[in-house]
Amino acid sequence: MTDQANLERGYRRLLAWYPRAFRRENGQEILAVLMACAPDGQRRPGLAESADLIRSGLWMRLRPSVPRSARTVRAAVKLMYAGAAVSTVNLIILLAVIGDIKAYHAILGYHLTAAQVSHLNTLAITMEIVLDLVPIALWLWMARETGQGRNWARSLSTVLFGLATLSLTSVFPQSVINISFVPTVHISFVPVLGAIVPVLTWLAGLAVVWLLWRPASTAFFKPPGVTHAGHSAQPPSPPRSSSSWVPRQL
């Protein structure tokens, strides 16, 4: 009996990976199936079972809830997740070149004390990491809100895309609008990838905005003020975080 209670508690903990609404609707039922599947004497969830529940729960949280009929919106949401993935590559690049950045600062700050250089490193690298996290968060947020049919997300995505376009121009050193006095970190340390990533994310953003404003997508979005008829009936637009990591001035 205690074994069973332990097992049930373990399963309940794993079910927390699922979205709350899904848990409310199906939690008891899944729990019953899990308990029925468990062999006598099992005291805690197995590894494979736990992995399956965590994977399914995360998938439920992340997958777009856009109906199959709204094809353009589904495509836009997928692109937003792709944008988040590419932005993550950007963060990985940054983490990989931290050593180079420090060396760069050591040269730049030859007239500074070691403590000052170290302070500069901490400040600059923290700022870089935060700036790289912002686009990832924006992509995911917009994908989620768009997937739930929020019309404001469509407008916000478009605005973000505009901002991304402006900041993209500063990626290229010879650009007229280049305001960075120190070249963008990623570009300076990883010339090819550092330039490709912002362009890729910008293109994804462009495609997203285009998809979201197609007549087929507009039909999916509810006009403001109308009560929601079904679940996730109106799609919003995706945000663009593509260029957020682009202009880095240290």
Binding site: F22, N26, Q28, E29, I30, L31, A32, V33, L34, M35, A36, C37, A48, E49, D52, L53, I54, R55, S56, G57, W59, M60, S65, P67, R68
Partner: protein, 100 residues
């Protein structure tokens, strides 16, 4: 597989798992997490629907059944697979006949 398990009538979650295992000759053992992700998707696509709910031993047990759209899709899919299988068998027979 889940649709096949529901083809002969409404089933609850655990019933689907054991049924799929039986249909696949023990090869496929659905895990509850995977099953409910699939059920949720099938319900959203209106291929299955909740048939009825019961409380057994203080726990909710929900029975699912195919919708007309689900039945149609399953029939089309089965016909497609059957056509593939017949084509494969016919060609194997031909090849076997030629070889002997």
């Amino acid at each position: 597989m889940i649709l096949t398990a529901l083809a002969s009538g409404g089933q609850h979650g655990y019933g689907i798992i054991t049924d799929v295992q039986e249909i696949s000759g023990g090869q496929i053992r659905l895990r509850p997490g995977t099953l409910y992700t699939a059920l949720d998707r099938l319900r959203a696509d209106e291929l299955i629907a909740v048939d009825r709910e019961e409380i057994v031993d203080g726990r909710l047990r929900r029975y699912y059944r195919l919708t007309p759209a689900g039945t149609k899709l399953l029939a089309a899919e089965a016909a497609r697979l059957q056509a593939h299988a017949s084509a494969a068998l016919a060609r194997l027979n031909l090849a076997g006949g030629a070889a002997t």
